[in-house]
């Protein structure tokens, strides 16, 4: 059990209506991993997450979640999408949004019971949003809303969290708090996170992968020049954007075993 991968992707090809975006992806996410996924826009990062949760059907290849098919296995996934397209007027409270995570993977028509309420309460405590539980979702700030969506993902008691740019359009201080939260959560759940924020990637994640149609992931923390060249086609970027040295430094390869 200990070494069973949480997500196993083999030879995955996927895209939208005939446009292939993901080419021959192989990826294994193990328990207690915290993988940061970087890559250019249009490189397929969001497509990869959507394919893992079944929003996009693969053209070929296989995805197993906790050893099950996507339809069954996604009950073990906590998904935090990049944008939640919503109406600020929508009559829904924070508590009710978080409750959504509990609805699907259970017997239909089951009422919310005491255990469920405790689960929701616990998820809200994790993201420090208990005080605002009766607020209308439209009244929250972007950062608060992001916390609510993380709490919602937590209520399904996930084995893995998939986060699509959790700190996009959030100011750096709030972003820092969200990364701290993710680090804490990582003690019990695996995390696969898309991020453009190289600082965050370098300080909080355990391993980094680069995705530009093809995935370059070796279970290591360093972003090698080879990877960047393969991804962006230009190693100069490394210096020009002042990437933190830690990412490039040659420290112990703790993640090597995963590759």
């Amino acid at each position: 059990m200990k070494n069973e991968p949480v997500i196993e992707i083999k030879g995955l090809w996927a895209g939208y209506e005939g446009h292939t975006i993901l080419e021959d992806i192989d990826l294994t996410v193990n328990q207690s991993d915290f993988i940061g996924l970087i890559g250019p826009n249009g490189g397929g990062k969001t497509t990869l997450l959507k394919t893992i949760v079944g929003l996009i059907k693969p053209d070929s290849g296989e995805i197993r979640v906790m050893g099950k098919s996507v339809d069954d296995g996604r009950c073990h996934i906590g998904y935090v999408p990049q944008y939640v397209d919503f109406d600020r007027q929508f009559p829904i409270r924070v508590w009710e949004v978080v409750q959504m995570g509990l609805l699907g993977c259970r017997r239909p028509l089951q009422a919310i019971n005491k255990v469920d309420r405790e689960t929701i309460q616990f998820a809200l405590e994790q993201v420090e949003m208990v005080d605002l539980r009766q607020r209308s979702i439209g009244d929250l700030s972007v950062g608060q809303r992001q916390r609510v969506y993380i709490a919602r993902a937590l209520t399904s008691n996930p084995q893995i969290l998939l986060l699509d740019e959790p700190t996009a359009s959030i100011d750096p201080q709030v972003a820092g708090a969200i990364y701290e939260l993710l680090s804490r959560l990582n003690k019990t759940v695996s995390i696969l996170m898309i991020s453009h924020d190289m600082n965050a990637v370098s300080s909080y994640v355990k391993t980094v992968g680069c995705l530009n149609r093809r995935l370059h992931y070796h279970g290591e923390k360093e972003v090698t020049e080879d990877m960047l060249e393969a991804i962006y086609g230009c190693p100069v970027d490394l210096i020009a954007h002042g990437l933190p040295h830690r990412v490039l430094s040659d420290h112990s390869h703790e993640g090597v075993a995963h590759a």
């Binding site: 949760v53 996604r74 998904y79 007027q89 929508f90 609805l103 699907g104 028509l109 209308s136």
Partner: protein, 275 residues
């Protein structure tokens, strides 16, 4: 003022108004928050085809209307789920074709068709007791399903992508919702008429949505407002000798306009206080 209720038809009218208001309060809330007013308009007009068919076959037009609106609702709902971007075009097509079919069926039906206008403009003053029973039964169905699936319907309305990912049966719930809209449309049609169904399904819920941010309260408030508009509209139409359906709608419309102004004024004041 209440002496008008010594007439049986006025009592029936008021009862019909209350029954329709409950359905409109609940279903109207879903229509407004899901932004499917146009889809509901399509269902209402496609129902007219069923009325024509009812006359053509010599059966109660209400059953024709229920059948047509259910079929068109499921068709439009399915299209809406599959192809988001062009759904409005297809709804427009079904809207027009349903209406045209109704007229052609009526052309081909022999005999007296004076009752037809009552489906276009409503006939709350001519609602028979048997229709009240049908309305009550439909209300029970709507309330029962809404209570049973409240959380799920709220979830798919708010964020259907996430609902899908956690294995909520989004498609089936959505089709259930459009079916409920269809039966509410047929029910409302008897009271305010096909042309004004949309008004009663959207305006009370829209007003309620301006002032409350909780779905259950929004449903209760819009049902209450709907009862109020129906009552005031009935009174005005009785004393001023106006068409009842149209009067009810105008009362709702004026209230909507006033609420909108009030809300604007109120919000501005709130911001000023905060500053």
């Amino acid at each position: 003022m209440l002496e008008v209720f010594q007439y049986g038809f006025m009592r029936n009218a008021l009862a019909a108004g209350v029954l329709v208001s409950i359905a409109c309060g609940i279903i109207g809330t879903y229509i407004v928050i899901n932004r499917i007013v146009f889809l509901s308009g399509g269902i209402a007009h496609a129902a007219y085809g069923g009325i024509g068919l009812g006359y053509f076959l010599g059966i109660n037009p209400v059953f024709g209307a229920i059948a047509f609106s259910l079929v068109s609702a499921l068709g439009m709902g399915w299209v809406h789920r599959r192809t988001r971007e062009r759904a409005d075009t297809i709804i427009g097509v079904m809207w027009a074709v349903g209406m045209a079919l109704g007229i052609i069926f009526l052309d081909m039906s022999p005999g007296y068709k004076a009752d037809l206008m009552s489906y276009l403009f409503g006939s709350i003053l001519a609602v028979p007791a048997s229709d009240l029973v049908i309305m009550a039964v439909l209300n029970v169905i709507i309330i029962a399903l809404t209570i049973a699936f409240f959380k799920e319907l709220q979830a798919i309305s708010f964020d259907e992508t996430f609902a899908f990912v956690v294995n909520v049966p989004v498609d089936r719930l959505y089709l259930m919702l459009v079916s409920l809209i269809a039966i509410t449309v047929v029910m409302t049609m008897r009271v305010v008429g096909l042309i004004m169904v949309i008004a009663l399904l959207t305006m009370p819920a829209a007003i309620a949505g301006l002032f409350v941010k909780d779905m259950k309260r929004m449903m209760a408030l819009s049902a209450g407002l709907s009862v109020l508009f129906t009552f005031i509209g009935l009174m005005l139409s009785y004393y001023l000798n106006l068409t009842s359906g149209a009067t009810i709608i105008l009362v709702a419309g004026v209230s909507y306009f006033i609420s909108f102004m009030l809300k604007k004024f109120f919000v501005k004041k709130q911001i000023a206080v905060q500053e």
